[in-house]
Each structure stands twice: as structure tokens, then as C-alpha cells.
Assembly symmetry: C2
Homo-oligomer: 289 residues x 2
């Protein structure tokens, strides 16, 4: 994928939000925005959006010393998700087609950040989101592949979402599981601590990708991660940032996400805010360049 | 008022939209965005948002030669508004409190641009918007002042909205009316041609402010406009851009608008997307600085 011009105003809006989370000092907000505009001016030197997003968000840490401005939001999201976890789990266990619904729970987790920020009742919002079907769904192929697969890797996205992913992982008992997260805090993405707080450590190995982008740039990842990534029989990539950075990589991947912005929904050929669980083989017809 | 940091990502998003309306040439979109980012870097040298908005939107004309990229949108909005005008007029004429409802029609016109862009059914959207009450309303004071007022000036905002303002103007028969618009096309704001197309020429004098900002910077306005502005007994300012540029000026004004962004709604002390018809005297308590 490439950097879309639409990403530029979006990341500028986002870093203002982050700078306000880090400090009430209006002068610092000004300085961070000025620095961010400087970086935007060099946007062509970045390869993918998550890379410029990281660079711009790093300004908040540099200027304020606050390296994890979204920490409060992440903790709130995690607690919210943990509070509804028992319901999500029993919801899936009552279904005949548990795997499909566990995938739907994991996809719905990808909506948690936006849902939380609307100010709506979270539980009600999640219930509504659960009713939305997948606009594209390769669950049957996934079920087939699961029968012979030995190793499955999930690459996580935001912090609260890890609890929803736990519901999916609990439906995959006879396979070697790995859950990969960012190497350091970036926006509201999950780190190892967040995944552990969600209870993932009890059912899967949790590792860092070695990369601290809101996505996965393979040439920045650790050898440990790359071995697992290329050695896994199945890889599930959660969320937009991972899709943006992995959609043209050299292995087959299932992308599980809510298409929250028009760029991503256009690329996936679905509507805005629709859910996708889509398999992309290496020799795929669509080229996401 | 001042420039809010929140305006910067917003205008960057807007100029990308405008550049796509002007041309399909992706290279030009790139160049316009680069130039826009340069201007954003100097945002402190602008006094109010409408000023930097004008400067950034001018890039589209400079790069593409298209001086009115929103023309198609404006014509569509005007036609849409004209098609529902008979219903709006008869809606008001059936009411006991015609003046209040004519003000509400004019305020609702200020939502037309955003309503059109959502892709919803416009007529249904307008009907829904008409049900929303004013969050702040000085209609009683206005009715009192009308009894002795001889000259009333309305400063228009977007093109389609002029049709809605016509419904209000038709309820003000015994007063000398002037309707002021931008001196040249800027975003989807009304020019003299748009106001004439709405049929305003038959019921009011239509003049240019002399200023081509999406707002009114008094030191750029013509003497003709300034004489009318300071000589009027009542001035009604429509929309956010006019509010941003006139909220701290040296005369009393009624601001009639929908608060479409958090900055404006915070300043007015109302919720986002709420309607306001608010009188600001010169010795007003709130200072919008």
C-alpha cells in the first residue's frame, strides 16, 4: 500500500488529540502541531501511512515526555471489554456455528475504539455491532485450513480488542497459538502488557513484533517474529494499520477488521464501517499497491 | 476569534476535496496538498480561520485554473433548495408564529451543505432538521426590534441556503432589506449570481461584501457594504464563517446558524449540530476573542 493524501489531515487531527491527552499546555499543543506540519511536508519520504503516523505521534513523547498518552484510554477500553467478556463468551458458546461467531466477536473488537469515543453506551453499541454481518467472509476456507493447520498467528491491533480476540482464541484449542503485539506504546494499540491484562497469556504465547509502528513493517520486525510469521500455517491480521502494512507482503493472510475509513473500504471493495474477514493468497487477483 | 488548531486538519481535508472537484490529475492533488501544508506551517500569521481557509483554497485555482471548483455542488444545492422552496414557504404560512418558523427555515438552510454531502434523502433530512428546536433563541427580542427597525441586513453563507433565507425575507415585508454575499466564489459560499438564482433579487437588494473570504473581514470590505453594515438597525449573520469573523466586531448582530463543529458549539455554549439564533450586543458579556 501507499500513503493516501486523505491520511494527512487525519493524522494531523489525531496528533492534536494525543497532545491534549498528554498535556493541558496550549503552547506545547502549538509546538507539536508545528512539528507535525513539518513532517507532513515530507510525507513523500514515507512508504506507508503507519510509518508517518508513528513519526508524528513520537512528537508528543519528545515534547512532553509522555510516551503513552493513550494509556488512560487503553485501560478504560480494557476494563470495558473485560466487563462484557463473560457475555461475549457465553454468546458464542450458545451458537451452533461457534467459529463464525467467534470471528465476528474478534472483528467487532476492532470497532471498540471508535465505539468508545462516540460516548454511546458501550454494551449496547457492541450488541448492535454484533448484528452487522461480514461484508466479505472467508470463514469456510478458514475452517477447512484449520483442520490441518498446526500453527496460527494473530497480529493484534488496539488494546481493548485483545479481550475480544481472546474469545476467538478460546475456540481454537488444538493448535499452537501466537499473539503478536507492538513493541512499544503507539496510539491505542496493544502492547504485551495490554494483552496480558486481557488474560491472553493463559491461552496463547504473547510476543512483540519488534516493531513500534501502528502496523507491521517487516524489515523492522524481530527475527523471532519473522520466523513465526513465515512459519505459521495461518496468519490473522487484525485492523487497518496491519492491513495497510501487510496487504502486499509475500505470504497468505486473513485480514479481520472493520473498514473504518474510505481508503480502506475502497481497497477492500466494501462499504465504510463494514466488517471483513478476507483471505489474501500470495497469488491473489487484487493487488493492493 | 482566533485560529483554532482543530481548524488546521479540517482545512487540509477540505482542500483535498476541492482539488478533486477541480481535477482528476493526481499529480495536481499532490502539489496542492504540498502547497497547503506549506501554508499550514505559517498558520500563526493568519488572524482568523476564514483567512487561512481562503489562502489554502486559492491554491486550487492557482494550480488548476478552476476558480470555482464547488460550482457543480452549488448548482445542485440551489436546485435542490428551489425544488423544496414551495413546501418551506407553505409550511411557514400555515403557522401562527410565522416569524419564528421562518427563522428556523433560514437556520435549517445553514445545514444544507452537510445534509447534501451525507447522501441522505435531502427532503427527508430537511424535514428532520426542521423538527430540531433552537438551542438558543432570541426571536422575541428580534420581533421587538423589528417593530421600529427600518433597515435590515442579512449576510449570507452557502449557496443553497439563499433559498431558505428567501423564506425568511418574505416574512419581513415592511423593512428595507439588503442581502450581502461574497465578492467571488469561495468553497460553496453564495455569490451575487447564486443569490439571484435563488430569486432573492425580487425581494431584496443583493450586494457584495467586497470580501472574498468564507467570512467577513471588515477591513477588506467595500465602503458600500460597511455603510450598510454599520447603518442597519438589524444585522443577521448566517453561518460559522461569518460568526468567526464578526463575533467580536463593534456592532450588535444576530447570529443565525447551525453549530457544525466543536469549536463553534463550545464558543456558543450549545451542543454540536444544534441551532442558534443569538443576539450579541456590543457590550455583550461573553467575549469571543
Amino acid at each position: 500500500m501507499k500513503i493516501y493524501l486523505d491520511c494527512l489531515p487525519c493524522v494531523l487531527r489525531q496528533v492534536l488529540e494525543a497532545s491534549r491527552m498528554a498535556t493541558d499546555n496550549a503552547g506545547e499543543h502549538d509546538r507539536i502541531m508545528s512539528d507535525a506540519i513539518d513532517i507532513l511536508g515530507r510525507y513523500k519520504s514515507y512508504r506507508i501511512s503507519p510509518e508517518i503516523v508513528r513519526e508524528i505521534h513520537r512528537l508528543v513523547g519528545k515534547r512532553t515526555g509522555i510516551l503513552d498518552p493513550y494509556n488512560r484510554i487503553k485501560q478504560r477500553d480494557l476494563q470495558t471489554a473485560l466487563s462484557i467478556y463473560p457475555k461475549l463468551r457465553s454468546f458464542v458458546e450458545k451458537k451452533t456455528d461457534r467459529l463464525y461467531w467467534a470471528l465476528k466477536v474478534a472483528a467487532t473488537g476492532n470497532s471498540l475504539d471508535s465505539a468508545v469515543n462516540t460516548g454511546y453506551d458501550i454494551e449496547e453499541s457492541i450488541e448492535n455491532e454484533m448484528q452487522e454481518p461480514f461484508a466479505a467472509c472467508d470463514a469456510e476456507l478458514f475452517e477447512q485450513q484449520l483442520k490441518t493447520a498446526e500453527r496460527l498467528l494473530i497480529i493484534g491491533d488496539n488494546a481493548g480488542e485483545t479481550v475480544f480476540d481472546r474469545v476467538l482464541l478460546e475456540q481454537l484449542p488444538n493448535i499452537n497459538l501466537t499473539y503478536a503485539v507492538r513493541s512499544a506504546p503507539i496510539i491505542n494499540d496493544a502492547t504485551r502488557e495490554d494483552a496480558q491484562a486481557a488474560g491472553l497469556g493463559r491461552i496463547t504465547r504473547v510476543i512483540s513484533t519488534g516493531c513500534d509502528m501502528p502496523g507491521v513493517l517487516l524489515n523492522e520486525c524481530s527475527k523471532t517474529f519473522l520466523d513465526i510469521f513465515f512459519g505459521a500455517d495461518i496468519v490473522i491480521s487484525k485492523g487497518q494499520g496491519n492491513f495497510e502494512s501487510l496487504s502486499d507482503c509475500d505470504r497468505d493472510i486473513y485480514f479481520l477488521l472493520k473498514a473504518k475509513c474510505p481508503m480502506i473500504s475502497d481497497l477492500l471493495g466494501v462499504g465504510i464501517n463494514e466488517y471483513v474477514f478476507e483471505y489474501k493468497g500470495c497469488n491473489r487477483e487484487k493487488a493492493y499497491l
